[in-house]
Amino acid sequence: MDDFDFGVIIQSLPFLWEGLQLSLWLTFLAIVGGIALGTLLALARLSGILPLSLLAAGYVNLIRSVPLILVIFWFYFLVPLVLGRPIGGFYSALIAFVLFEAAYYSEIMRAGIQSVRQGQVFAGKATGLNYWQIQRFVVLPQAFRNMIPILVTQGIILFQDTSLVFVVSLRDFMTASSIVARTEGRLVEMYLFAAVVYFVICFAGSLYVRRLKSRMAT
């Protein structure tokens, strides 16, 4: 372990930065899409309409029992086939992430919705609100607030998960690091650097979650 060359990192910073931007952008879009779809799934599951709740439960349990890499492979194969034309790796990956993470977000939102006391729903009904109004104005705002720390934690996990687009060579931060690592023959430096970058971002995120939690406790 004599000759390490950390200069290679500085040289390739612009390239790595592009990769990191893709990772962050993918994370952001997948969080937004995942929470939206996840909330709908949670509402379907708690709707009391049997076929709807069974369908939602089936979807969530199916997705939660397969690995993300397999889901990514699925959509890389399926999306161009269904649409009849290639739409690029990024959108295939995005669809895979939204559909995958929605299953996890729906479990969080389900717990959030259940944490809102039943009396509030009755009060909403008594004031003459319909189902969607109760969800929109009474239940969901509180469910979101109660679940913010867990939603953010899941976001951090999602950010780590985006590194898996490596398996389809989409050029995110991980793939960019590994391209540099291979072309420059600097595997040790680049992978340690990647670890540091991911660590700093995720650790900062988890410190933020800790602060959110303590602020909510008071």
Binding site: R64, V66, L81, V188, A195
Partner: protein, 239 residues
């Protein structure tokens, strides 16, 4: 949608053999990693709750380090970087003579990563045990080790069976990352079948069905374990 269905491809001898071998690699990686993760994770989790500040700091660092770096990066570091970072003799052994390098590396990476998550569950379990029991143990003159051995651990390990169940399922899913360092486990085999035969739909369906079956079996086993270990009428203190 143009697609030529051919489910028969899954039962051609070569490809069926790939699936079966992939299945066993997935099981082997997951179970080996899980056994190590339980041991390491328990030690680290206990370490986070002991009075000794130094041990607490080390355990805390372990958890933060392994939880905040993606498993894929950890896999690569164990596979590509560690042999260069250890003393030369060891590195040479790891690169040349270590039996089954992909398997061993995948198990170590997955185990140490999972251990950080197990540790968090163990810590939460210990912290859920009511304060009064700890105080009572002290009042009886039990040492710290005795308190853990006779009071805290027997209760907390029974409490954390349900959350550990979901970690157990996660290990099987995460074992798919072994494909990134070249281990041909289930997901890798299905991808390979898809590439060789262009029957992606059939290949991925087969892998999906097998994963679902693994999850079902693991759930059934864990649920009976949960029933067996549940503490009747136990109410922990508010977390």
């Amino acid at each position: 949608m143009d697609y030529n269905w051919n489910w028969g491809v899954l039962f051609e001898e070569e490809y069926l053999g790939w699936l079966i071998s992939g299945f066993w690699w997935t099981i082997a990686v997951a179970l080996c990693a899980w056994c190590i993760a339980i041991v390491v994770g328990s030690l680290v989790g206990i370490g986070r709750t002991v009075p000794n500040r130094f041990i607490r700091a080390i355990s805390g660092t372990y958890v933060e380090l392994f939880r905040n770096v993606p498993l894929l990066v950890q896999m690569f570091i164990w596979y590509f970087a560690v042999p260069e970072l250890v003393p030369d003799d060891w590195g040479r052994w790891m690169k040349r003579d270590m039996p089954n390098p992909e398997f061993t590396t995948a198990v170590i990476a997955l185990a140490l990563y999972t251990a950080s998550r197990v540790a968090e569950q163990v810590r939460a379990g210990i912290e859920t045990v009511p304060e009064g029991l700890n105080a009572a143990a002290k009042a009886h003159g039990l040492s710290v080790a005795q308190t853990y051995r006779h009071i805290l651990l027997p209760i907390s390990f029974r409490l954390i069976v349900p959350p550990l169940t979901s970690e157990f399922l996660t290990v099987f899913k995460n074992s798919s990352l072994a494909l990134t360092i070249g281990l041909l486990e289930l997901t890798a085999q299905s991808q390979q079948i898809a590439e060789y035969t262009f029957q992606g739909f059939e290949a991925f369906t087969a892998a999906t069905v097998i994963y679902v079956c693994i999850a079902l079996v693991a759930t059934v086993i864990s649920q009976s374990l949960e029933r067996y270990t549940a503490i009747p009428g136990f109410v922990g203190k508010e977390a």
